[in-house]
Structure formats: structure tokens, C-alpha cells
Symmetry: C2
Subunit: 367 residues, 2 copies
């Protein structure tokens, strides 16, 4: 994997990541395909249509079902889901924290009960990397503990130390598996809750491992936007400038623009798909809820300025009808439009950085 | 509307229907879009991809939601759902019988409670035609009473007589609305349960009205296949040979082939979509249930001989995973494949008739 910054505009960066499955332009928004499928009924071909550059799949889910050996036999996730562009896999750490039951964290790793059938599972840092390697990820993420907020300082500190030891084990395991071939690379994840000194200390430590990229984890888990931005203000200056910076699980268009303005390069979030499934559509003039009665006889598209396959062909009235009639085509249209919106927002962001006008772009959006 | 038979092979007919929205080749299988949407999340564009020639929408559902005035304002169903090919609308008679509660049939029409919110609705033959006209159907169906089986002879006889009077009223109402413009045409529906004398008598009577097409209703509602075929054997000889013959709600590939061999031209059925949603896929070597454990690591397509977008790009293992993981993409793939299968079966049937080899085709299928 390589990463090059080609333009800057203030602290905002315009770059390119290259992987064994092609390049991605940054800042990039990764589209979430948790179980090797996109919620709302989109296929991998649809993901290309909406402009997705990198698909994000989840180690926790795929390990439980269908199991990484089936995916490996299918030629990895790329073959399994028929997606030819880059794939990043989450390590499972976040799902152990958010989904699994009766979890027990030890130095070895995490034991937990499957959220599907309750069976006991143990996952070590080595297991996580080995699963991600079997899945054929271009970018694997370090296995980390994502601490819920608020959390006591001492617990966060000892958790960060353990997650750092896990990161060293992840790195060793990937070196053992990949042997320097570069089929899969590992990103480190910064933790530290909202304690700025722990965040900075942890970031400086993981930066010494000289990994190909660094993520900020444990944000967008309930803290305020201001707390998130303050943490970014503390962290970005100590993140390696020659490596991609990935803000995990973020976020709204505003969150993304604020983070880009601070120098973040990569994002992922379930928001466009989850909100879409509830009838919330992102448009160039704000969000709308299509279930609103006022759209019942509105024969204009969701967004006159949008060129997505939904806005090009269907009216608000039709899409509202699909939601009211509980047709799953409604979900597909919503996710298609919203992913298109987020991916094209990133394209607008990249153009603004190329022109050296990112601050003006950011200002124009907040008016 | 015009209809021409271009080839015959035994009693099987190869023909063409032309409508204001283009031609359809017969024998044809209409694809069901009940609420102006195809179950499983397919869009109108997808319907074209799977080879659908005529979409079938339901008056009962669309009258209740979103209401025909909204559809009319959208430019009819064609504009509303963005479908440019022919549309046939069911009259609502079957849904009053199968879905509505507390129905009361009188000479005037049918009163019933909406299955959605229970509100009382009254629909006369004139209402049904007027709604179908507002929906912009190319082909409207007569408003009929579909009698549940088994039913007493006397009830069926008096019901047939009333449905005939309703048919005359439907015809008058469409003439009033359409004024001979031919935007919408009306098909009559034969009823008579499994009483052959009533069926024949009714068919002879409705044939005298010289309508552009005739349907056989009230079959595939629980009777055996043999009873259905016997009824067809009785009816087909007395159906006008210069008009399309439509067997409503049928059926399996075998049902369709048996009916074509007796001279039926048009079909519709929810089977490919409904079965698909339960994981049942039609293939050139029979049906399979993709949820079966034996497909967990089967990386071949559903049907090696199928060229549909699903079989061209995805494996059984992936599709099984989607079903097990409850991803709605599973439903879309299943409906896409099964509708493709049915539409291409019809294409094979038409080719066999053109070659004058329909009996050989039928025999080869049953081996």
C-alpha cells in the first residue's frame, strides 16, 4: 500500500491510497458492507454505481457467519461478494464492545457470546488478524478494546496499554502471514476515550511502530461533537503526516467536513444507510423525511441537483408510497441515494482541496 | 389494442399483442407489481432487465394506497413507477375475495373493510373501471366475484349471472371514459368454479360482448391441477380464437406449459417472487432451496445455464450466506433470478411454437 498527499488546503489533505485492488482518492468515505452485503439490498455492482471507492466489512460478523474459511475458499471477500475495489475490514473490536454479550477482556484477548446464537467465542489479536487475512482485506485493522464512555481514567489507561500490546501482536501476526508481500496491510488504532493526555501518549507510541496507516477509534460513541472536535485538535498534530488518518465510525456531513479541515483522510459510517432505511434522505438543501404527508403528491425528485439513479428516475411521491406500502424497494432507493450523496460530497471536498479553497467550501456549506 | 396469432403448434399459439405502450409477445408471463413495485426490491428498470413484457398492478391495493388520483397526477402507473411497457391492472375482485374483511356482495357491487386500516370501502363495477382508467392501465380487467371453492351450484350460478351484469356495466363505463380512444381496453373474466356447464355457458355469454380479450378467473384457488386442466379442456374450445386468452394467477412452469398446450396466451403469478423470497430458486434442472446446508461452500452459480445478472456474478455460497444473514439483497437476487427464469421459459415456449415443435418441447421438459 502506498499513500501520497497531492494537495493541501489549510490542514485539509487531498491524497491517493493505492492497494492491490486499485487506488482510492482521499478524503474518502468508505461504504459499510457489514456481512459482505450492503443494507438495503444493494449489490456490489450498485456500490460501484454510487461511487464507492472502498468497502468496509466486519470481521466479527463474518467470522460468526459464514466463517472466514468459506470466504477464503470463495477467493476472499472480493470473490465472495464480487467486488473488485479495495476492502478494509474492521477488527471485530468494536462489535465485541457493542454487540457481543458477556464479554470478558483478558491479556490474551476477548471472550464473548455470539449475538446470533449465544455460543462462546474467543478472539485474540492474532485471531483477528488471521481472520482478516483469510477474508482477503486490503487493509486490516488492529484488534482493540473500544472503551464505553464515560470511563474511569485508570481503566482507560490500562486498557490503552493492553491495546498497544495487542497492536504489537497484530503486527507480528500479519508479518508472519503476509511475509512482506503486501497483500494485506495493518492500520493501528488510537484509543484513550476523552482523556487528551492518554490519547496523545497512545498516538505517539503507536506511531513508533511505523504502520501504513492510523485510525482514531472510540469516538462517535456518545460524546458531544465538541468533545470529538477537541480530541481531534489534540491528536491530529501528533499523527504521522505521511500516513492516511482514518476517523472510525464518523459521521454526519458536518462531522466529516470538520474532520477533513483538521487533516483526516478516511471515514466510515452506517448513518447514510441507517437513516435512509428510516426514510431520511440527504439533499443539497438539507435532510428530508420522505414519509412526511407533504410529499404525497410531490412529483419532483428527492434532490433536483442530484444525478443518482433514484433522483434521475423517481419522484418523492413514488418513494413515499414505497415507504408507506412497506416495499423494500423503498430501502434500496434510500440507501442508493444517501450513499451517492456521501460519496459525491467527498468528491466535492476533494475538488475544493485541489483548488485550495476548502475553507470557503466549508463556510458555504454552513450558511 | 390488437392481437395477432402468427404461429400455431397443435393448440398452442404464438402471437403478438400491441398496446399504446408497445407490443408483447405471447405466450407471455406478466410480472406482478402489486403496489406499483415488485416484491424483493426490484425497480422498473430491473423488470426490463429480467425480460418482463407486461407488468400487472392491483386496483384494490392502489385504490387504498396511495389512491388513484395521486397515480393519475403522476402520469398514471407508467409515470409513477417509471415503466414504459404495457400494464395490465387486476380489477380488485380477487383481492376483495382474498384479502378484504367483512365483505358484502350486492347487485350494486362489493362493500368490504380495508385490510390495512379496516375502513369501509364500497367498489362497484363502475368504480373499478374508473380506478383502472385513472391508473392508466393498457388492459383493464372486469370487476368480478371470485367464488371460493367448494361452492354450491346455485350460488355459483347466480354469482356468474351477476358478474355478467357487472361486466356489461364495466364495458359501458369504459366506453364512457375512453370514448373509443383505445387508451385502455377491457378484458372479460370467465367464472363458474369447477362446474363445467356454468363455465361454458358463461364463456359463451361473455364472448358475445366482443371484448378485446378474455380471462379465466377463479382457478388456481385450491383445486387440483387435474381439475384445472379439465376446466381448461372444457373452456378453450369455446373461447374466441381471435382474442388473447389469459389464465389468471397461474402458475408453476408445468401449469403454464399445460395451459399453453391448450391454447392459453397470457399468465400471471406471484409464485416466482413468493417462492424466491423463501429461498426457492427455479433452475434448468429443477428447483433448489438455497438455504440447504449443502450449498454453504458451493461456489457455482444457481444455474450454470442461466445468463441472469445473479447467475453471471454470484455463487450459491454467497446467496445462501445472504439468506442466512437475513440481508434483503438475498430477496432481490431470488426474485431477479426467478422472474428471469419465468420470462425466459416463455421465450423458449414461443420459440418452440414458432418451430412447430411445442409438443416435443413439452415432452422434453417432463423427462
Amino acid at each position: 500500500m502506498t499513500f501520497n498527499v497531492t494537495h493541501t488546503s489549510g490542514a485539509a489533505r487531498r491524497g491517493e491510497i493505492t492497494t492491490p485492488h486499485g487506488a482510492a482518492q482521499t478524503p474518502a468515505f468508505m461504504n459499510v458492507a457489514t456481512q459482505a452485503a450492503i443494507k438495503g439490498g444493494l449489490s456490489a455492482a450498485d456500490l460501484e454505481t454510487v461511487g464507492c471507492q472502498i468497502a468496509l466489512c466486519n470481521t466479527y460478523h463474518l467470522h460468526l457467519r459464514p466463517g472466514e474459511e468459506i470466504v477464503r475458499s470463495a477467493g476472499g471477500l472480493h470473490g465472495f461478494m464480487n467486488w473488485s475495489r479495495p476492502i478494509l475490514t474492521d477488527s471485530g473490536g468494536f462489535q465485541v464492545f457493542s454487540l457481543a454479550r458477556l464479554r470478558k477482556i483478558t491479556e490474551d484477548g476477548a471472550a464473548f457470546n455470539s449475538h446470533i446464537d449465544g455460543h462462546r467465542v474467543f478472539m485474540s489479536p492474532e485471531d483477528s488478524v488471521s481472520i482478516q487475512y483469510a477474508l482477503g482485506a486490503d487493509i486490516a485493522m488492529a484488534f482493540d478494546e473500544c472503551v464505553g464512555l464515560p470511563a474511569p481514567y485508570d481503566y482507560v489507561k490500562s486498557s490503552c496499554d493492553r491495546t498497544f500490546r495487542w497492536l504489537e501482536r497484530c503486527k507480528l501476526e500479519l508479518e508472519r502471514l503476509d511475509g512482506g508481500a503486501g497483500k494485506t496491510v495493518l492500520f493501528g488504532i488510537n484509543q484513550g476515550a476523552t482523556y487528551h493526555d492518554l490519547r496523545r501518549e497512545n498516538m505517539l507510541k503507536i506511531a513508533e511502530l511505523d504502520l501504513p496507516g492510523y485510525a482514531i477509534g472510540g469516538l462517535a460513541v456518545g460524546e458531544s461533537h465538541e468533545e470529538m472536535y477537541e480530541t481531534l485538535d489534540e491528536l491530529l498534530p501528533v499523527m504521522p503526516s505521511d500516513k492516511p488518518r482514518y476517523l472510525m465510525g464518523v459521521g454526519t456531513p458536518d462531522n466529516i467536513i470538520e474532520a477533513v479541515s483538521r487533516g483526516v483522510d478516511m471515514f466510515d459510517c452506517v448513518l447514510p444507510a441507517r437513516n435512509g432505511r428510516h426514510g431520511k434522505f440527504y439533499t443539497s438543501s438539507g435532510t428530508i423525511n420522505i414519509k412526511n404527508e407533504k410529499y404525497a403528491a410531490d412529483f419532483t425528485p428527492i434532490d433536483e441537483r442530484c444525478e443518482c439513479p433514484v433522483c434521475s428516475n423517481y419522484s418523492k411521491a413514488y418513494i413515499r408510497h414505497l415507504f408507506k406500502a412497506e416495499e423494500i424497494l423503498a430501502l434500496r432507493f434510500a440507501v442508493t441515494h444517501n450513499l451517492w450523496y456521501f460519496n459525491h460530497l467527498m468528491s466535492d471536498i476533494r475538488s475544493a482541496i485541489e483548488r485550495g479553497e476548502f475553507e470557503a467550501f466549508k463556510k458555504s456549506r454552513s450558511e
